[in-house]
C-alpha cells in the first residue's frame, strides 16, 4: 500500500471534479438548496431546520453514492482505470483515494448543512459525526455499484433506483406510515432521525452499522470475484 499513490488518485479526482459538472452538481445541489429554501420559506408550525434535515438526508443518500459509482464506471469505460492498474496503482489504493475524496468533499458539504442549521461546537461535531456515518455507508454502496458495473450506462441504471430509495424514502415516510415501517430499516432514515432528533439511540446506530456491513460484505464479495476491471 502506497500513500503516495492514494494521494495521487485523491488529487487527480479533486481536479477532475472541478471540470465535471455532473459530479460537481451532486456535491453542491443539496447544500445550496438547503440554504435557499431555509431562507426563502417560512411555514407556520414547520419543525426547526426542516429543510436542513430533509436535504441533508437526501444528500447522504444521493451524493456519495452517485459520485462513487459514476466515477468508477467512467474510469472503466474510458480505460483510465486499466492504465492506472498498469502503472501499479492497486485496486485498494485507487478505491481508498477515490473514497477519501468523496468522503472529504461530502463532509465539506455537510459542514454547510451544519452551519445553516445553526449548529456550533459539540453540536456541530455531533451533526458531522452522524453525517459521516451515512456518507461512509453511501460511499461503500456507490463503490459496490461502480465495481459491479461494466460501464456508465449500466451503473446509472442501478444507481438511480437505489439512490431514489435511500434519498426519498425518509421524506415519503413522513407522510406515509406503511413506508415508514419499511424505511426504518434503511440507514438514511436513521440518519434523518438522528439529525432531527426525532429518534435517537443505539438502535439507530445499529441499523446504520448493519446497512454498512451489508454494503462492505457485498463490496468484498464482488471485488474478490470480479476485481476492479472485470
Amino acid at each position: 500500500m502506497s500513500s503516495r499513490r492514494v494521494m495521487a488518485v485523491f488529487r487527480k479526482q479533486l481536479k477532475d471534479t472541478l471540470k465535471n459538472k455532473e459530479v460537481l452538481i451532486q456535491f453542491l445541489m443539496f447544500p445550496v438548496l438547503s440554504v435557499i429554501m431555509s431562507n426563502a420559506m417560512t411555514v407556520p408550525d414547520m419543525p426547526a431546520n426542516f429543510f436542513v434535515h430533509m436535504f441533508a438526508t437526501m444528500y447522504v443518500g444521493m451524493a456519495p453514492l452517485t459520485c462513487m459509482s459514476a466515477v468508477i464506471a467512467e474510469e472503466k469505460e474510458k480505460n483510465t482505470l486499466r492504465v492506472l492498474m498498469m502503472s501499479n496503482v492497486r485496486g485498494t489504493e485507487y478505491l481508498l483515494g477515490l473514497g477519501a475524496y468523496v468522503l472529504a468533499v461530502c463532509m465539506a458539504g455537510s459542514f454547510i448543512f451544519g452551519l445553516q442549521g445553526g449548529y456550533r461546537g459539540l453540536e456541530l461535531a455531533g451533526f458531522m459525526g452522524i453525517m459521516f456515518c451515512g456518507i461512509l455507508t453511501s460511499t461503500v454502496i456507490g463503490g459496490v455499484i461502480g465495481i459491479g458495473s461494466r460501464n456508465q450506462m449500466a451503473a446509472t441504471s442501478v444507481t438511480v433506483p437505489v439512490m431514489m430509495i435511500f434519498s426519498f424514502l425518509p421524506m415519503i415516510a413522513m407522510f406515509n406510515r406503511p413506508v415508514a415501517l419499511v424505511s426504518r430499516w434503511i440507514y438514511t432514515q436513521q440518519i434523518n432521525d438522528l439529525i432531527s432528533k426525532s429518534a435517537a439511540g443505539w438502535q439507530s446506530f445499529a441499523v446504520i452499522a448493519v446497512n454498512a456491513l451489508a454494503g462492505i460484505t457485498a463490496f468484498a464479495v464482488i471485488y474478490k470475484k470480479r476485481g476492479l476491471l472485470f
Binding site: N20, V83, M86
Partner: protein
C-alpha cells in the same frame, strides 16, 4: 551479449473453449525492438495483457526479466511503460495534468512533464484538455505518458493505428529514441513498413500461433521464390531479370548505356510473406 528481457515458452490462453494463444514461444533481448505482426484477433493484445500481468495464462511460461509476468512487483512495473489499444486519457484534464498524475504515481519530479511533452511535440498543447486533442495528438500524449518514467521495457499495442503518415513517422522516431536510450520495445502492429523499419526481430502471429520468427530482411529473403531483380530504365521501362549469373550481361549492358534509374531485388515484403503462409492479408 544482451540481457534477456522477455521469455515466453509454450504459452496457452483460451477464451470460451477456443485457444487464443496456442503454444507461443518467443524471446526479446534488452534494447531490442521486437515486432509481433498479425491480423485483428490473432492474439496480439492477449499476449501483451499476459506479459503485463493483466491476464493469467492457462499454461506455459511468460517471464519478464526472469520473473513470472503475473508476479511482477512494484519495482518491476516502475520499469515498464505501455501504450494499449484504448488511450485511457482523462479527457477533462489538460495534457499537463494527465502527466502530472503519473509523475505523482511514480514519484517523479514534475519537471519531467515539460520534457516529455517537448519530446512528443505537445509542449504548446500542455494546457489543452486531452478531450480536445486530435487522434494523433492523443496518441502522442499516451506515448509521452508511457515514456515519462523512462522505462526499460515498452509495450506498444498498435501505436500508429489510424494515424496519418506524418504522425506515424514522428511516433516511429520516438520509439527509436527510446531504444537508443536502452529500452526494449515490444510492438504489435499490422503495419509492414513499421515492422520493417523499426524491428530487430519479428514474429508473425496467426490464430494464436507464431508461424514465422526472425529478422525481417531474412524472413523476406527466405520466402523469395521469384529470385528476380527489377531494373527501372530511364525510358520508364521496368525490366525483370532472373537473379542468376546469366543475367549479369544484360544488367551490365544497362549500366554501360547509363540507362538505369533504380535496381532492386524482388523478395516479397512481410505482407506477401504472410499471404504466402496463411492465404490471408494482415489487416
Amino acid at each position: 551479449m544482451k540481457s534477456e528481457c522477455i521469455r515466453v515458452r509454450n504459452l496457452f490462453r483460451g477464451f470460451n473453449g477456443k485457444n487464443v494463444l496456442d503454444g507461443i514461444d518467443l524471446d526479446v533481448a534488452g534494447g531490442e525492438i521486437f515486432g509481433l505482426l498479425g491480423p485483428s484477433g490473432a492474439g496480439k493484445t492477449t499476449l501483451i495483457r499476459i506479459l503485463t500481468g493483466q491476464l493469467k495464462a492457462d499454461s506455459g511460461e511468460a517471464l519478464i526479466w526472469g520473473k513470472r509476468s503475473d508476479k511482477l512487483e512494484e519495482a518491476d512495473y516502475r520499469r515498464i511503460g505501455a501504450v494499449m489499444d484504448a488511450a485511457g486519457l482523462y479527457d477533462r484534464l489538460s495534457c499537463y495534468d494527465n502527466l502530472l498524475l503519473f509523475t505523482r504515481i511514480y514519484g517523479l519530479k514534475p519537471d519531467r512533464i515539460a520534457e516529455a511533452l517537448e519530446t512528443v511535440g505537445l509542449a504548446d498543447a500542455a494546457k489543452k484538455p486531452a478531450g480536445r486533442l486530435s487522434k494523433g495528438m492523443r496518441q502522442r500524449l499516451v506515448l509521452a505518458r508511457a515514456v515519462l518514467h523512462e522505462p526499460d521495457l515498452l509495450f506498444l499495442d498498435e501505436p500508429t493505428s489510424g494515424l496519418d503518415p506524418k504522425t506515424a513517422a514522428a511516433i516511429w522516431d520516438l520509439i527509436s529514441r527510446s531504444q537508443q536510450k536502452g529500452a526494449a520495445v515490444f510492438l504489435t502492429t499490422h503495419n509492414m513498413e513499421e515492422a520493417y523499419r523499426l524491428c530487430g526481430h519479428i514474429a508473425l502471429l496467426d490464430r494464436g500461433k507464431i508461424i514465422e520468427y526472425g529478422v525481417p530482411e531474412e524472413i523476406c529473403r527466405k520466402y523469395d521464390s521469384n529470385h528476380s531483380i527489377s531494373v527501372l530504365l530511364k525510358s520508364g521501362e521496368q525490366v525483370i531479370v532472373p537473379n542468376m549469373k546469366a543475367s549479369a550481361g544484360q544488367i551490365r549492358s544497362y549500366f554501360e548505356a547509363e540507362q538505369i534509374v533504380s535496381i532492386h531485388s524482388q523478395e516479397p515484403d512481410l505482407e506477401n510473406v504472410f499471404i504466402q503462409l496463411t492465404g490471408r492479408r494482415l489487416d
